[in-house]
Symmetry: C2
Subunit: 350 residues, 2 copies
Amino acid sequence: MEESDINLVCPVPISEYDCVVIAHGGGGRMSEQLISKMFFSQFGNEYLNKAHDGAIIPFPGKKLAFTTDSYVVSPVFFPGGNIGELAVNGTVNDLVCCGARPLYISLAFIIEEGFLMNDLWKIVLSISGAAKKAHVRIVTGDTKVVEKGKGDKIYINTSGVGEIFPGLMISPDRCRPGDIIILNGTIADHGISILSKRQNLSFESGIISDTASLSEMMGEVFENCKGIHVLRDPTRGGLASSLNEIATSSGVGITIYEDAIPMNEDVKGACELMGFDPLYVANEGKILIFAPEKEAGRIIDIMKRHREGKDSVIIGKVTDEDNGIVKLKTLVGSTRIVDMISGEQLPRIC
Amino acid sequence: MEESDINLVCPVPISEYDCVVIAHGGGGRMSEQLISKMFFSQFGNEYLNKAHDGAIIPFPGKKLAFTTDSYVVSPVFFPGGNIGELAVNGTVNDLVCCGARPLYISLAFIIEEGFLMNDLWKIVLSISGAAKKAHVRIVTGDTKVVEKGKGDKIYINTSGVGEIFPGLMISPDRCRPGDIIILNGTIADHGISILSKRQNLSFESGIISDTASLSEMMGEVFENCKGIHVLRDPTRGGLASSLNEIATSSGVGITIYEDAIPMNEDVKGACELMGFDPLYVANEGKILIFAPEKEAGRIIDIMKRHREGKDSVIIGKVTDEDNGIVKLKTLVGSTRIVDMISGEQLPRIC
C-alpha cells in the first residue's frame, strides 16, 4: 500500500460513526452507505457496481455467476434448520437470483474453540444434504479455529459459481413499468423462527424457518420463461428492503398489495405480539420475480408444481410513478410508503 | 436433513476431542484428520478430494480454478502488511497454485462491532491496491457485523475464480521421482513478523511479512513452461507441512537441503531466540514448484526477473525412497525426518 493512499480521508464521516456498529451489517440504509461509500468507492467495477446478489462475469466464451455470503446466524440451530443448510441454500439462491444454474460451492468455517464436535458433525451432515438437494458440489474449502471468545460457535462462508442459463438477462436495473411481481409463498418465517428460538418462545403450532434451495424450481422456470427482468431473494431486511433496492436500481415505482402477500397465521400473530413489521423480517426460501405481465401465468404454473412454490402469487406491480418509492395498498384501502430500514431490526438473522 | 442422518456417528472420536480445539485449525495433522474424517467423508467428490489449494473444475468448454480462504490473522496490522492485502494475495496465490490466471475474487467481511472505521478504511485501501497489483477484480461481496466479543476486530473471506492456463496439468499427486523443487526466496518471514508484533519484539533491522501476489511472475512461468507437476504455497504449517502433504499425495519421497533454503539472518536469529523451527513457520509470498529437472533452468531464469522471485533456488528433489517421508540434509551432513506438525505452532497466523 502506498503511503499516499493511507492518507485518503475515510469516506464514511467518522464524526458520525468512528467505529462499526451493528446496524452497519443490517442490510438497511446504513449498510448500504458503508458499502457504497467505502467499498464501492475503492473496489468499484462494472460487475460489482450492479449490486446484484452475485456477479455475472464473462468467462472466456461463457457467462458465469459468482457470489459469496458469510453466515453468522445465532442460534446456530433453529426451528426448521441450522447454519449449515442455511449457508448452502443462501448461496445457491443468490446464484439462482443471477439467472444461473448453481454448480459449485466453496465452504469456509471459522470455528470458535470449544465448539462441540457433535454439533459440528450435525452441521456437516446438514450441509451435505442441502448440497445434494440443490445439485451443487462442494469443491474447495477452508477451516480456521479462533480462540474462545473471539467468535460465536461457528461462522460459515460459502461462495458459489454457476452457469447463466442461455437467453436470460437478469439484472437489478431491468425492472420496467408494467412488470408484475411474483412471490413464492409466506413471508417472515425465517426471521420469526430465529427470534422465537432466541427468546425461548414456543408458538402453539410451531413456526419454522423457510430455508430451502430454489434451484430446482427456478431452473424449470428459466428453461421455459426467458423474459424475466429481475430476481431477488428477500433475506436480511425482508421484502421491504429488497423492493426498495430494486425500485432504486431500476428507477421505477413499486406498488404491493397487503392482501396478496401470503403469511402464516402464527407468524402474523408473533409479529403483532413482538411488534415487528413482517415486511422487514428475513426470509430464506423466498424469491421475488419481476417479469412482464404476459409471462406471469406460465411462471406461476411452473412454480406451483414445486413444494417451494406452491403458494406462488402476484403481490404487486411496477409503475412509472414516484420512481424509487415502494408503496403498500393496505387491507383497509389506504396507501403507505414502505421505506428502507435504516439500522438493524434483527441482528445475525443469517 | 433426514433424521437418520443425524444419528450417524461422529467420525472424529469424541472420546479424544469432544470439542474443537485450536490445533484443529493449525494446518497440521489434527486439521488434516478433522477435514478428512468429518468433511471429506460427507462432501467428498473427485474435485474436493484432490485437497489442492483450490479446485480445478470443468466449466462447460473451459477449465476453471475456484478457491476460498478465511483470514483471521491477529494482529490485523503487522509489519509489512495487514489482513486486507493478505486476504487478496493469499487467494490469488491459491489460484496460481492451481495453474490458473486469477480473474475474479469475492470479498466477505465479518466485522466486530466497535472496529474503528478508519482502520476498516485502511484495510479497504490495501485490498484495493493488492487487487490492482494482482490484476484481479472484486466482483461480489458481503458484510456482516457481529456483537462486541463475538469476533476479533475483522475476519475476511476471499474466494477466487481463475482460468487454467492451457496445456498445464497441476495436481498435488503429480510429483515424480527426479523432479526438482524450486522455492522463490526466504522462508518464515510472515510468521515471524506476526509473532514479533504480537510480542512487541522489535528486531534491529525489522522483519517484515513477505505477503505478495505471485500471479504476475507465475503467469510468465506458465506461458513458457508447461511441464510443471505440482505447485504449493507454504502458508500455515510452513515448508514442512506443504512438503509432507505433497509427499503423501504423490506417494514419493522428498529430500531437501538445509544449506539451500534461503533465510533472512534476522528471521533465523528470531527463530533461534524464540525456539521456532523455521520449516514450520508460515510464508505468504512463497511458492514451491515441482518440475522435471530439465525445466528448472528456464523456470528459475523467468522467476529471477521478478521481485518476488529474485532469490529463487532449487532446495531439494523428489525421490523414490521412503514414500510419504520428507527428509532434511542438515548443514552438518546428517539426515533428519521432517514430520508433519500435529497441533498448532502459531495460531491465527493468516
